[in-house]
């Protein structure tokens, strides 16, 4: 007899149906999870990400391929830099952690750098947890985990995350290390890129906090002498970047408390994908194998909140932009546009109201539009004279 279906497995099943038969789920990585905060109001993105749909493949199948790509120059340079930072048993990296975050501790020497290789993401996650536990049993020592693997529960499915590094301090606390290849020039870096790195690191911090909590609540089957208190995951992460125009590492501590709070809240809200899934018509499927028309209809059945910012954050953006423009949504011109338009949401409604062809003149949005239109016409006429 099969085990009774729990709510969680029912949802997983439903999401698998949405992906299509035999389409594997696209694993969510930290970047994708951090991007949830880019447009949290978008139901379309929530369900597609939640169901593990490959949005890039979907976008191509819809005829509006995404334009994200990475130059191999950037890739090479990034890899070379990360290798340099971690060279020599991570000596330079640990020195930076010590200097920027934990000066009162003993300087790192003979740090432990455990081997984390294992088979499959589950295996690597278990291995990482084991080594973190092991590190807790070595107070006073520095431990560097190079590319550990962490699991985070996302709407019922595990997402596997791979931070660049996690450092265990002598006091037992943990620090997430992000290695990026944009430069730290005279002490400052591109704020948009630092913000993205901070949001990504916040996801790792949340995942580590789950590991830490499990470690702290691990009494069964172990002797009391083995028990450890839940380690502290530090809320200041270390961002390592090339210094100025060189390939030398420089680092800066980044306080990620805000990003952590936002991401935690967005992850909690992901449970709503169940409601979104329930609202979909029976048989809805996002498999890229389907003909474009069917796919378009499937995608249309979930509302999107397209804004131009999506163009740099979501693979489906060009598709959504086309639809948004076709329906004449004013937000396709930017979120701020609608601020003063009240209940008017389409280009033609707004223009008709401005021209005096439609709209209630007592509605202040309509009244303001008419004044704006009159003032604009007067000014253009004055300029023509």
């Amino acid at each position: 007899m099969p085990p009774p279906r729990t709510r969680g497995t029912a949802l997983r099943h439903r999401l698998a149906e949405l992906r299509g038969p035999d389409v594997p789920a696209k694993a969510l990585d930290a970047r994708a999870l951090a991007a949830l905060a880019a447009n949290p109001g978008c139901a379309r993105r929530a369900i597609l990400d939640g169901a593990g749909v490959n949005k890039a493949a979907l976008a191509s199948a819809l005829g509006s391929p995404s334009t994200f790509g990475q130059s191999q120059f950037a890739l090479t340079r990034g890899n070379a830099f990360e290798a340099k930072v971690k060279a020599d048993g991570g000596a330079e990296l640990l020195r930076l952690v010590h200097e920027k975050l934990d000066r009162s501790a003993e300087p790192p020497a003979d740090a432990r750098v455990p081997d984390l290789t294992a088979t499959g993401p589950q295996g690597r996650t278990a291995r990482t947890a084991l080594e973190l536990r092991e590190a807790a049993a070595h107070p006073g020592a520095w431990t560097l985990l190079d590319h550990p693997m962490l699991a985070l529960d996302v709407a019922g499915s595990p997402a596997f995350l791979e931070p660049d590094a996690v450092v265990v301090h002598p006091d037992g606390s943990w620090t997430v290390v992000e290695i990026k290849s944009f430069p730290l020039l005279d002490g400052s870096a591109d704020p948009a890129k630092v913000g993205a790195a901070a949001r990504q690191a916040a996801v790792y911090v949340l995942a580590l906090e789950e590991v830490a909590a499990r470690l702290g609540a691990e009494p069964e089957g172990r002797g009391a002498q083995d028990r450890v208190a839940a380690p502290r995951v530090r809320h200041r992460i270390l961002l390592v970047c090339p210094r100025d125009f060189s390939n030398q590492p420089a680092a800066s501590a980044v306080d990620i408390r805000k990003q952590r709070a936002v991401t935690a809240r967005q992850l909690a809200r992901l449970t709503r994908i169940e409601d979104i899934a329930d609202a979909l018509p029976e048989g809805t499927c996002f498999s890229p194998e389907l003909p474009a028309e069917e796919l378009t209809a499937a995608v249309e059945s979930v509302p999107a909140t397209y804004a131009p910012e999506c163009l740099s954050a979501c693979e489906l953006a060009f598709h959504c932009r086309t639809r948004s423009r076709e329906t004449g949504a004013v937000t396709s011109l930017g979120r701020p546009v609608r601020a003063e338009l009240g209940g008017l949401t389409t280009v033609e409604d707004v223009l008709a109201a401005a021209r005096g062809e439609a709209g209630d003149p007592d509605d202040p949005a309509v009244a303001a539009l008419r004044r704006a239109a009159a003032l604009r016409a007067e000014a253009l006429e004055a300029a023509c004279r």
Binding site: R325, L333, E340, A354
Partner: protein
């Protein structure tokens, strides 16, 4: 975004063509701007790949770094760039006119007028996009602390002679570009976006090709169609037909075309180095030359469309008449240019890495003042901008319906006429709010007295610019039937308070920064050569 500009964008959507966002040109355009279209290497800070640069739209100079990781080739590029930019800058530095400036006399402490040189005109740099301005700053920063062999014979990797000087100039251009209303260094997308409202978002307006497509779509196409084509159309090889305006390149270009070409170049260079005799070397030099030429062609193919687009943008902008205050603001740019010329001539060190507390505060104060000045001047120069201020309740226009003579109290009563203006606007006027109108180019102030007929009429008391006599000078008081426009914002900006000299930085701000030390050059390490 004001409702007026929102409406303009929506009309652009509806008509398929960009709509005017200004009726005059609010930025200076020189007769001979220097256009600079740079490309950089992905993933590396300030590693140029190539550029088109020059003042002649038909004959740009192509500069290319065939292997961007090679320091010597990078230096050669920067030296070539200096050879184009510095003579251009110098030509303006040499022609001066006499001007007056108020200075504090060091002995008496009094403000006195002194006669100084002011450059008669200034150079002007145009880059395609805002990212281009950032690159100008980055290049400036990467060069200005370099040491030439002459400056420091011990320098391990000396920079070519004029490179540090180019760094100082680019830094100056980049810093000046942060001043609102300045025109020394302009990004074409910003200037076009200031003057036209497209049917897309301001984010999408950052794409020069798409922006131009809205402003001036090709025959038979709407702006939306042309913009989409500019953004996304790819050729059979998968390359964008309208390459990005840079300085970043399209990853597909890097991966499919540039990387193989650079690899061929590297191989040819290695082969040449390994050549064993003259004959072999000649042959291999030929291979290297052709490999280099291939990269040059690639860079040219990605920069030329942008180069042409920038010039087309200039053509479009030149069709607009120049705003009345543009020249005044350009004069400030000339002062800024002259000031930097003098600092270079006086042998002052390059701009420091970071501003000290006093410099930072002074710059912020200047920029806030210039921002207020720009906002006021643009409104005065352009009825469309003024319309926005009127909609916001910051200005009002209307007809004078009544003028009643009145006088101030006191021994020598001065004229203080009461003027009633009928207006449809809804200015935010409060008790005794000051308002201003332009009278022969000078602001005349008035104060709000009362409103009548439920806000349809505004009664003002005129306060100045009426001469010294008991009767106001002719033309200084509006007459019944006149059309007038008053603003709630001031037309001219007062100078701020004088900050202490840097040597007198107070304890609250860390005290004096100490002796200015010569900023060390960035250490050059083996790692720089990847």
């Amino acid at each position: 975004m004001s409702l007026i500009s929102t409406l303009a964008r929506l009309e652009a959507v509806s008509t398929g063509r960009a709509q005017p966002a200004a009726t005059v040109r609010h930025r200076h355009l020189g007769d001979r701007p220097l256009v600079f279209v740079p490309l950089i290497t992905a993933g590396e800070a300030g590693a140029p790949l190539g550029a088109l640069v020059g003042t002649d739209r038909d004959a740009p100079r192509l500069l290319v770094v065939p292997q961007p990781r090679d320091r010597d080739l990078r230096f050669a590029f920067l030296a070539d760039l200096a050879d184009v930019v510095l003579p251009y800058v110098d030509a303006y530095a040499e022609v001066v006119e006499a001007a007056e400036r108020t200075e504090t006399d060091p002995e008496t402490g009094k403000r006195v007028k002194v006669e100084v040189d002011l450059c008669a005109d200034a150079p002007q740099l145009i880059v395609p996009s805002r990212a281009g301005i950032d690159l100008v700053r980055l290049l400036g920063r990467s060069m200005r602390f370099r040491r030439t062999a002459e400056q420091d014979p011990e320098a391990p990797y000396p920079a070519p002679p004029r490179v540090p000087l180019l760094g100082r100039w680019l830094t100056h251009f980049g810093e000046r570009a942060r001043v609102p209303g300045s025109s020394l260094l302009l990004a074409m997308t910003d200037v076009l976006g200031r003057h036209w409202a497209t049917g897309q978002s301001s984010l999408e307006d950052q794409h020069l090709g798409a922006l131009l497509a809205w402003i001036d779509p090709p025959e038979g196409m709407t702006g939306a169609e042309a913009a989409l084509k500019a953004e996304l159309e790819r050729d059979a090889q998968g390359q964008l037909t309208c390459p990005p305006a840079g300085p970043a390149t399209d990853p597909a270009f890097d991966n499919k075309l540039l990387a193989p070409a650079i690899e061929r170049y590297d191989r040819a260079r290695t082969a040449l180095a390994a050549a064993e005799d003259g004959l072999e070397a000649d042959e291999r030099l030929g291979a290297l030359t052709s490999a280099e030429q291939e990269i040059r062609d690639l860079v040219h193919s990605r920069t030329r469309p942008t180069w042409d687009a920038v010039w087309r943008g200039l053509d479009l902008l030149r069709e607009l008449p120049e705003g009345a205050h543009v020249e005044e603001r350009w004069t400030r740019d000339r002062w800024s240019f002259t000031g930097h010329r003098d600092r270079v001539l006086a042998g002052e060190p390059p701009q420091p890495r970071r501003d000290d507390a006093v410099t930072a505060a002074n710059k912020l104060a200047t920029r806030e003042r210039e921002q207020a000045r720009l906002e006021a001047q643009e409104a005065l120069d352009d009825p469309l901008v003024m319309a926005g201020r009127r909609l916001a309740g910051e200005a009002f226009a209307g007809e004078v319906t009544d003028v009643v003579m009145a006088y101030s109290d006191g021994k020598r009563p001065s004229p203080r006429p009461l003027v009633t203006v009928r207006t449809d606007d809804r200015p935010h006027l409060g008790e005794r709010t000051k308002v201003y109108r332009s009278l022969g180019g000078k602001p005349q102030s008035a104060e709000f007295v009362a409103d009548e007929e439920d806000g349809a009429c505004v009664v003002l008391r005129i306060l100045d610019k009426m001469g010294r006599g008991k009767e106001p000078e002719p033309g200084s008081v509006p007459e019944k039937g006149d059309r007038v426009c008053f603003t709630l914002f001031e037309h001219e900006q007062r100078g701020g308070a004088k900050l202490p000299d840097p040597e007198e930085t107070p304890w609250t701000h860390g005290g004096p920064p100490g002796e200015a030390t010569l900023e060390a050059a960035d250490p050059v390490t083996e790692e720089d050569v990847l």
